[in-house]
């Protein structure tokens, strides 16, 4: 491995579909947490439902539009069910319920009783649900090399998926920007600051919180679809850790900013790949196995993130001034 390969791999992460999926999920979480102050600890639950809703209907032979609508409807119903009992309570309750509910979704999906629908713990393999998406591609078959990177045009981890994923991210960013700077966004930020004050001004707080929870969940569902398209649907690949990565990305980029989630996602995955690749080249196999390097990579990134939270708590793009009034 030489320096060029490292650079190729590291910068390749910048446009990877997974990076885009995490950016979308973090944008949804930003609507929950950054705008409305809802502590959603189960963004992976929304992603799982999106992924399953899409993959199952695809496997059953539905068309793409129906599959995407199913994914969104499932996420919306899930958000509604979570919100009804918890939104009137404090933020900590929502955190607990969402964390538990995401686990319920995952465990139900991987249970043997559901094998005929979800494929159990083995999940749904790509050929069952990606063909229609790949067939939609206007690109010719084969693979293309662009500067340093060579990917297949249409199949699996492809250029086509990259293009679609990043167009989705761009659309999501524009929507977020619009919402953040609208009177609706202002009400959500008001709720984040003080619910009772907003109530005393004649706004239906529960309605706004429900809208925010569902909207962020829809972003999560789309993220789930983008996340599974280059691989397969596997319940355990969308577990708690995904939720925590999403939180990390949001706080890294800066909550309540528009570009924060995108930047956070890019920085996290680029940094992680860089650390791992450099260690793989520089540390001989006799000292450390590749498994250990994988784990150490997370440790180093974890320490870097802790430093960031301590020395720049507002994230990369966040506004330090806003944090001054935490009380």
């Amino acid at each position: 491995m030489n320096a060029l390969t490292i650079i190729t791999n590291v910068l390749g992460e910048l446009m990877a579909p997974t990076t885009a999926a995490y950016a979308l999920a973090a944008m949804g979480l930003n609507i929950h947490f950054g705008m409305t102050g809802l502590m959603n600890m189960g963004q992976a639950g929304f992603m799982l439902l999106g992924a399953y809703g899409f993959a199952i209907t695809q496997a059953m032979g539905g068309n793409l539009f129906i599959s995407i609508v199913t994914a969104l409807v499932l996420a919306a119903i899930y958000g509604l069910l979570l919100g009804i009992p918890t939104l009137k309570l404090g933020p900590d309750y929502l955190a607990m319920v969402t964390l538990a509910a995401a686990e319920i979704v995952r465990i139900v999906a991987r249970s043997t009783a559901m094998t005929h629908v979800t494929g159990g713990s083995a999940g749904i393999s790509p050929q069952d649900f990606t063909t229609q998406f790949e067939a939609l591609s206007p690109l010719p078959d084969g693979s293309t090399t662009f500067l340093l990177w060579t990917y297949n045009n249409n199949i699996a981890n492809s250029w086509w998926l990259r293009i679609v994923a990043w167009i989705l991210v761009a659309i999501a960013a524009v929507l977020c920007w619009r919402w953040f700077n609208s009177p609706w966004g202002r009400v959500l930020k008001g709720i984040r600051e003080d619910e009772n004050a907003i109530k005393s001004l004649g706004k239906n707080v529960t309605k706004y919180k429900m809208q925010a929870l569902i909207l962020g969940g829809l972003f999560g569902a789309i993220a789930g679809i983008v996340f599974v398209l280059p691989r397969s649907v596997q319940p355990d690949s969308l577990g708690r850790t995904v939720t925590f990565y999403t939180w990390t990305i949001l706080l890294l980029g800066g909550a309540a900013t528009i570009m924060g989630p995108i930047l956070g996602s890019c920085v996290l995955w680029v940094l992680l790949t860089l650390v791992k690749e450099v260690m793989r080249v520089s540390i001989p196999e006799t000292v450390m196995s590749s498994n250990q390097i994988e784990a150490l990579g997370w440790v180093i990134v974890g320490v870097a993130l802790m430093c960031l939270v301590i020395f720049r708590p507002q994230g990369i793009l966040g506004n330090k001034k806003e944090l001054a009034f935490n009380a």
């Binding site: 929507l175 619009r178 919402w179 609208s182 009177p183 609706w184 966004g185 202002r186 009400v187 930020k189 008001g190 984040r192 600051e193 003080d194 009772n196 004050a197 907003i198 109530k199 005393s200 001004l201 004649g202 706004k203 239906n204 707080v205 809208q211 909207l215 001034k321 806003e322 001054a324 009034f325 009380a327």
Partner: protein, 345 residues
Amino acid sequence: MRDSNTNQTTDPNAPTPINVGEERTQPVGAFFDLAKWATKAPEGEQLISTAYGDRVTQDLMYVENKAGVHKPDPILVADNVTRKFGGMTAVDVEHFEIERHGITALIGPNGAGKTTFFNLMTGFDTPNTGTWHFDGQDMAHVQPEKVAKGGMVRTFQLTKVMSRLTVLDNMLLGAPVQPGEGMLRALWPGAWKKHEKENREKAEALLERFLLFKKKDDYAGGLSGGQRKLLEMARALMSDPKLVMLDEPMAGVNPALKQSLLDHIISLREDGTTVLFVEHDINMVRHIADWVTVMAEGKIVAEGQPKTVMDDPAVVDAYLGAHANIDLADIDSIDNDDDGSEDVQ
């Protein structure tokens, strides 16, 4: 704008403003001049009218000074309101009325149930029993946001400003009409830009009046305690409420700002707004209130003109008790923890 105030257009008995300051060079009428409408003008300014104040004084002159008395033109009528916390009865109000266009003070020692009563009236707390009507509408068991939309807006004892929003954004949140607050319509600025502009003009005028205009782009969290009180009051006025309920508007405000807050409250009356406020500073109550209601241990123990009430033995009892040798005006300095036990906001 304030010119189309509903009270003034729908109330046939509304008095016509009397121009006192004829020699003024400035044109009269823009609503941000209304600070000049107070019965006692802020320093260096002149009054335009004292019409509402005069009428309320006239009307209340003939009302008997006793607890639970009926008033000539009540805006809020409450009956048999009780609220129990476990075995403790925090509020037990048999009958209570607020005179329209008047400034009513609600006083009483700490733990008397004033804040709880506020919470009940505005829907932030649910009573065990009771009914109340606001301007003819039944307001019992109505959610706080609907109470606010009905024209009854409150402020909080522990000031609630949105710290990480700018002062102007805080104000804009108080605007009653903004279609852009719908999730989908928010995406089409054409649907709300016009309202936003109108609301902004109104907010800026109010901020000017409350001496916060220079702070409009600062975060509200950076304001001082007194400025937050001002902001909260200004925000409550964004919706042109019929009744504002101010929970201790003077607590923690320095004396200089206190005077200007007082003038603002007085000017609200000349605006056609009814004011109910909780306060501990007896001197202040005497100075601006048209009517004083005294609560103690959840009950209304006395009502009347400020001067009469202060001499009522029931009030002296309720307020002084063990501290009978201490001046009334100093009462709030003894009790640092205001209504701590009954705060259930």
